[in-house]
C-alpha cells in the first residue's frame, strides 16, 4: 500500500512523442470529434441569420444586416415571452421533479426476486422510449379523446354522462404532459440507475445484512447513497437542458386549447421561424434559448461544486 502511494506521489514524466498507439487512440476519437463538430458546431453558423433580415430564397449576401433587431423584437412582446418562459420552466421543473422516479423504479426492479418478471417489466417499460411521439399522440388520442376508449368505458359504466377530454384541458395540460413523458421515459431512464446499482460493492450489502439491516434499510443506507452521484450528475444535466425539453412531444400534442400552456421556447421558435416564415426572428428566439441554457448550466455547475463538491466539469 505504502509503495503504491509512493508511486502515485511521483508520477513518471509523460512522454510527449507520438507513438503508434497514441495515434491509434487519436484516430479512434477522431470520428466522434468530427461528428460533434459537424452536427453541433457547424449549425451554429445558422445563428448568423438572426442578425439579417433573411427571407428564404434570397441569398444572405443580399439580405439587410439588422443587428439586434430581432432580439429587441423578442423582448418587445413581453406577454408572449412571459407565457413561453413560464411554460418552458414550468414543464421543465416538473420533469426535474419527476426525475427521481426512474431511480425509484430501478431500485424496485432491482429488489424484485423473480428474474423473469424483472426482465419482462424492464422490457415493457423500456419499449415506449422507442415509440415516436406521433405514435404516442395517436395512442393518447385513441385512449383519452372524447370518443376514445376511456370515455367509452366510463360512459358505458355510467360513471360519467359527458365525455372528458384531457388532451384539450388547459388546466390538466402540464400534469398530463408530464405523465405521458414519464410513461415514455421511465424504463429507459432506469437503465443508468440499474447500471449504477450493479456497480455498488456487494460487500456493503453483506455488511449491512450482518449488521441486521432489513431490505428497506439496505435500500436506504446502501443503494440510495450509492445512486446519489449518478442522480446528481443526471439532474444537473437535465436542469441545463430544461429549456429544450421534449419539443416533439409538445409539438404533436399542441392544439388551440392547450397552446397557451404548452407553447415552450422551442415551439415558439418553430412557430415563428417555420410556420410564420419569420426565419430570422425564429433563429433569434432559438439563439436566446441556447445562451440562457449555457448560462444556466454554468451557474448550476458552480453551485453544485460549492455545495456538494461535485460538478460535471
Amino acid at each position: 500500500m505504502r509503495r503504491m502511494e509512493t508511486a502515485r506521489s511521483a508520477p513518471r514524466p509523460r512522454k510527449k512523442t507520438l507513438t503508434p498507439s497514441r495515434l491509434t487512440l487519436f484516430a479512434l476519437v477522431l470520428p466522434c470529434i468530427a461528428l460533434i463538430f459537424a452536427f453541433n458546431y457547424i449549425p451554429l453558423f445558422g445563428w448568423l441569420y438572426a442578425f439579417y433580415d433573411f427571407k428564404p430564397g434570397i441569398p444572405l449576401s443580399q439580405s439587410e444586416f439588422v443587428g439586434l433587431k430581432f432580439f429587441r423584437l423578442l423582448f418587445e412582446d413581453k406577454e408572449q415571452l412571459a407565457t413561453v418562459l413560464i411554460n418552458t420552466f414550468g414543464l421543465g421543473i416538473l420533469s426535474i421533479l419527476v426525475s427521481p422516479l426512474s431511480a425509484v423504479f430501478a431500485i424496485l426492479l432491482n429488489e424484485t426476486a423473480s428474474n423473469r418478471f424483472r426482465k419482462v417489466v424492464q422490457t415493457l417499460t423500456t419499449l415506449p422510449n422507442f415509440i415516436s411521439w406521433i405514435i404516442v399522440f395517436s395512442l393518447a388520442t385513441a385512449i383519452f379523446s372524447s370518443d376514445g376508449m376511456l370515455n367509452g368505458l366510463l360512459m358505458k359504466l355510467g360513471w360519467i354522462h359527458d365525455p372528458t377530454n384531457v388532451l384539450a384541458d388547459p388546466g390538466a395540460a402540464w400534469a398530463f404532459q408530464t405523465a405521458v413523458s414519464v410513461w415514455k421515459s421511465l424504463g429507459w431512464g432506469s437503465i443508468v440507475y440499474l447500471a449504477a446499482i450493479a456497480g455498488i460493492d456487494a460487500e456493503l450489502y453483506d455488511a449491512a445484512k450482518v449488521d441486521g439491516a432489513g431490505r428497506f434499510q439496505r435500500i436506504r443506507n446502501v443503494t440510495v447513497p450509492g445512486l446519489m452521484p449518478t442522480f446528481f450528475v443526471l439532474t444537473l444535466l437535465n436542469i441545463a437542458g430544461i429549456l429544450s425539453v421534449n419539443f416533439e412531444q409538445y409539438f404533436v400534442f399542441n392544439n388551440s386549447l392547450v397552446a397557451a400552456k404548452i407553447e415552450t421556447l422551442d415551439l415558439y421558435s418553430v412557430r415563428i421561424g417555420i410556420s410564420t416564415g419569420d426565419v430570422s426572428f425564429g433563429t433569434a428566439i432559438g439563439m436566446a434559448k441556447s445562451v440562457v441554457s449555457i448560462v444556466l448550466l454554468f451557474l448550476l455547475n458552480s453551485f453544485s461544486r460549492k455545495v456538494r463538491g461535485q460538478s460535471v466539469f
Partner: protein, 590 residues
C-alpha cells in the same frame, strides 16, 4: 386523403379565397384543398347567365400540343397544389405524358417543405406559387429562383397566347411580377364559374332529420343552432350508443374553420354584404370569425357542441361524420362516406346543403387571375425550360383542361351529333366511385387546369362535360330526388340557385376576386401583426365559446379578446388592408 377532385379543388379555391379575404399572413395550413373526394361531388350545372356571358369569349385555345409528343421523352419534377403522386399512372396522367412527351414526377405542395426547398435552392422544375397572403413570389423573383417566361410563352406556349388568356397574362405581368412587368406566373382556373350539381359549401345537415322536423325555416345563426338542437334531442345517440353532437369545426387548415361561417353569412375581410373591407378581428357585426364563434357558443350553450370542436383535424371530422356523431358542417366534404353509408339505410337518409334565403353562397364569379394561389412558374433549377413550358402550355390549354375534367376523347367521351358527350359507362363509373373511377384520373388535377369547368370550349360545350343538364339528371339518387322534390328543382344546387336568382342570396359574383388577388404583399411588420392576431384569435376563441356562462359573460369575454386584438394591432392591420385594397382596385379599374 384523396386530392385533386372537384371537391378538393373547390376546397382549394375556398381556402385561397379565405386567404385572399385575409389579405396576408404566412401561417396558413398545408391541408387546404384536400378533403376526401366524392364521386357524386360537383358535376356542375349549366352555366348561369352571367357565366355564359363571361365565357362567350370562348376558349379556342390554339394549341398544338401533339407536336410536343414528337420531342424526346423527358421527366420533370413538378410540385402541384392539391394533386399528389396518386395522380400518376391514371389514364389522364398517361395521356398528358403521351401528348407532351413529358413525364411528371409529382410532389404534393407542402408549405413547410416548400419553404425549406426555397431556402436551400432545391425547388423542382415546375412549381405552383402560393401567391396570395404570402411573400413567396417576391422572394422567388428577387432571389432569381424562378425565370421570366415572356420568351418561352412565345416559342412554346401557343395555348397561352390564345385570346382567352390575354387578359390573364396582362394581369400576371402587372400584379405578379414584383414590379418588373415580366411574365413569371401562368394562371390556372381562369374564367367563369357556375352552379354545380350540388352546392358544397353551405349549411350542411341531415336531410331526413330536417324533414322530420317539418323543414323549419332558418333565418339566422340562432335558427341553425335551434334546428341542430332539436335534431340532437330526437336522435341523441347513434345506433351503437355513441353520443351525437350538433356541430364542430376542423382546426388544421389555419383559420379556415374559424372563418367557415362566412361561407354562409358572407362576412369576412372583404364583406360581400357591405361591398367593402371589414375588420374581421374586431368588427363583430361583419366578421366571419365572430359569426363562427357565436355559432359555436350558442351550440355549446345548448349542449350540442362536440367536445373536440377546437382540437379536431379534418380527418377527425370525417371520422365523426362517418360514425354518425356529427350533424352539421359548413361544407359537404366530410359527409361523403356518411352519405354513401346512409343511403343503404334509407332512401332519404343523408346530408344535404339547406338552401337559405339570406346571406351568401360560395359559387359563381369570374376571374382573369384564376386561382391566385397556384399559378405555374418554372424554376431556375429546370434543365429544360422549353419542355417545362410545353407541359404548362398543354395543362392550361383548352385541350388539357377538357382532358383533366372530362377524360380522353374516344375513351371517356365522344362527339355525338357534333356535340361532345360523356360515355354512359364512364358516367356509371363515376357514380360507382372507388378505384376504377380513380384509375381514370378524371377530375383529379383540377388545380392544374387552365380554364374553369364552365368555360365554353371551341366545340361549344363547357370544359367539364359533366356540367350539363343531361348529366345532372343522371346523377340524382333517392336522397337528392327527395330533396329536389321538396324544393321543386331538378338538381340540388338549383334550390340555392333559385334564392340567388331571386336576389335573396349573394354569390361570388359580388366578390372582386381580381382586386383581392392583385393586393400588394404586406410589409414585414404588418405580416407579423397578422400572425399575432391569428394566433390570438385561434387561442382565444375556445375560451370565449367554452367558458362563457351566459350571454352577458360571452359579451364580456368577447370584448376582452377584442381588446387583446386591438392591443396587438388589429386596427393597424385593417388600415393596411383597406389601403392595399383601395390601391389594387384603383390599379384594376385604372
Amino acid at each position: 386523403m384523396r386530392r385533386g377532385t372537384s371537391s378538393a379543388a373547390l376546397a382549394g379555391t375556398l381556402a385561397a379565397s379565405l386567404a385572399i379575404m385575409a389579405g396576408c399572413g404566412g401561417n396558413s395550413s398545408n391541408g387546404a384543398g384536400s378533403p376526401s373526394a366524392s364521386s357524386s361531388a360537383t358535376a356542375g350545372a349549366s352555366a348561369t347567365a352571367s357565366a355564359s356571358a363571361a365565357s362567350s369569349a370562348s376558349a379556342s385555345a390554339g394549341s398544338s400540343p401533339a407536336a410536343a409528343a414528337d420531342k424526346k421523352p423527358i421527366t420533370l419534377k413538378v410540385q402541384f397544389a392539391a394533386t399528389g403522386p396518386d395522380f400518376e399512372g391514371t389514364d389522364v396522367y398517361n395521356e398528358i405524358t403521351k401528348q407532351t412527351g413529358v413525364t411528371m414526377d409529382i410532389e404534393l405542395f407542402n408549405e413547410d417543405k416548400f419553404k425549406v426547398e426555397l431556402a436551400g435552392g432545391d425547388l423542382p422544375d415546375i412549381i405552383q406559387v402560393k401567391n396570395t397572403g404570402t411573400t413567396y413570389l417576391q422572394q422567388l423573383i428577387q432571389g432569381g429562383s424562378i425565370i421570366p417566361l415572356d420568351d418561352l410563352a412565345k416559342t412554346n406556349g401557343p395555348a397561352i397566347q390564345a385570346p382567352v388568356y390575354a387578359k390573364s397574362l396582362d394581369y400576371s405581368r402587372k400584379f405578379w411580377s414584383n414590379g418588373t412587368g415580366k411574365l413569371y406566373l401562368i394562371p390556372v382556373q381562369v374564367g367563369p364559374s357556375g352552379w354545380g350539381f350540388d352546392q358544397q359549401p353551405g349549411f350542411v345537415t341531415r336531410w331526413d332529420y330536417y324533414k322530420e322536423l317539418g323543414y323549419p325555416e332558418i333565418h339566422s345563426i340562432d335558427d341553425m343552432v335551434n334546428v341542430l338542437a332539436d335534431m340532437v334531442k330526437k336522435h341523441p345517440t347513434t345506433a351503437d350508443g355513441k353520443k351525437v353532437y350538433g356541430t364542430a369545426i376542423w382546426n388544421d387548415w389555419a383559420t379556415w374553420g374559424l372563418q367557415s361561417m362566412g361561407l354562409v353569412t358572407g362576412n369576412g375581410f372583404y364583406n360581400v354584404n357591405t361591398g367593402a373591407p371589414a375588420n374581421d378581428y374586431t368588427d363583430v357585426e361583419h366578421s366571419d370569425m365572430w359569426d363562427t364563434i357565436q355559432f359555436l357558443y350558442k351550440a355549446q350553450q345548448k349542449g350540442i357542441l362536440d367536445p373536440d370542436a377546437f382540437t379536431a383535424k379534418y380527418d377527425d371530422i370525417v371520422a365523426k361524420a362517418t360514425q354518425g356523431t356529427l350533424l352539421s358542417s359548413q361544407a359537404t366534404w366530410p359527409f361523403v362516406q356518411a352519405n354513401a353509408d346512409l343511403l343503404k339505410q334509407g332512401p332519404d337518409k343523408g346530408f344535404m346543403t339547406i338552401p337559405l334565403d339570406w346571406g351568401y353562397v360560395y359559387v359563381g364569379g369570374s376571374t382573369v387571375a384564376g386561382w391566385g394561389d397556384r399559378a405555374f412558374a418554372i424554376t431556375k433549377n429546370c434543365k429544360d425550360p422549353q419542355r417545362a413550358m410545353d407541359l404548362i402550355n398543354f395543362l392550361v390549354s383548352e385541350q388539357g383542361s377538357r382532358l383533366i375534367e372530362s377524360g380522353i376523347q374516344g375513351t371517356h367521351w365522344d362527339m355525338v351529333d357534333g356535340k361532345p358527350q360523356m360515355k354512359p359507362e364512364v358516367v356509371q363509373l363515376r357514380a360507382a366511385g372507388g378505384d376504377p373511377w380513380k384509375k381514370t384520373g378524371i377530375n383529379m388535377a383540377a388545380n392544374q387546369q387552365g380554364l374553369t369547368d364552365f368555360t365554353t370550349a371551341s366545340d361549344g360545350s363547357v370544359v367539364n362535360l359533366f356540367d350539363t343538364p343531361e348529366m345532372f339528371a343522371s346523377q340524382n339518387n333517392s336522397l337528392t330526388s327527395d330533396y329536389n322534390q321538396h324544393y321543386g328543382v331538378t338538381y340540388p344546387a338549383e334550390a340555392y340557385k333559385k334564392q340567388a336568382d331571386a336576389g335573396k342570396v349573394k354569390t361570388m359574383d359580388e366578390l372582386p376576386q381580381d382586386v383581392l388577388n392583385a393586393m400588394a404583399t404586406a410589409p414585414e411588420d404588418i405580416q407579423r401583426i397578422k400572425a399575432k392576431l391569428d394566433d390570438l384569435i385561434t387561442k382565444g376563441a375556445p375560451t370565449v365559446v367554452l367558458k362563457s356562462k351566459d350571454d352577458a359573460d360571452y359579451q364580456k369575454r368577447q370584448q376582452d379578446l377584442i381588446k387583446q386584438l386591438n392591443d396587438a394591432g388589429a386596427d393597424k392591420y385593417f388600415e393596411w388592408y383597406k389601403q392595399a385594397f383601395a390601391d389594387a382596385k384603383a390599379k384594376i379599374e385604372g
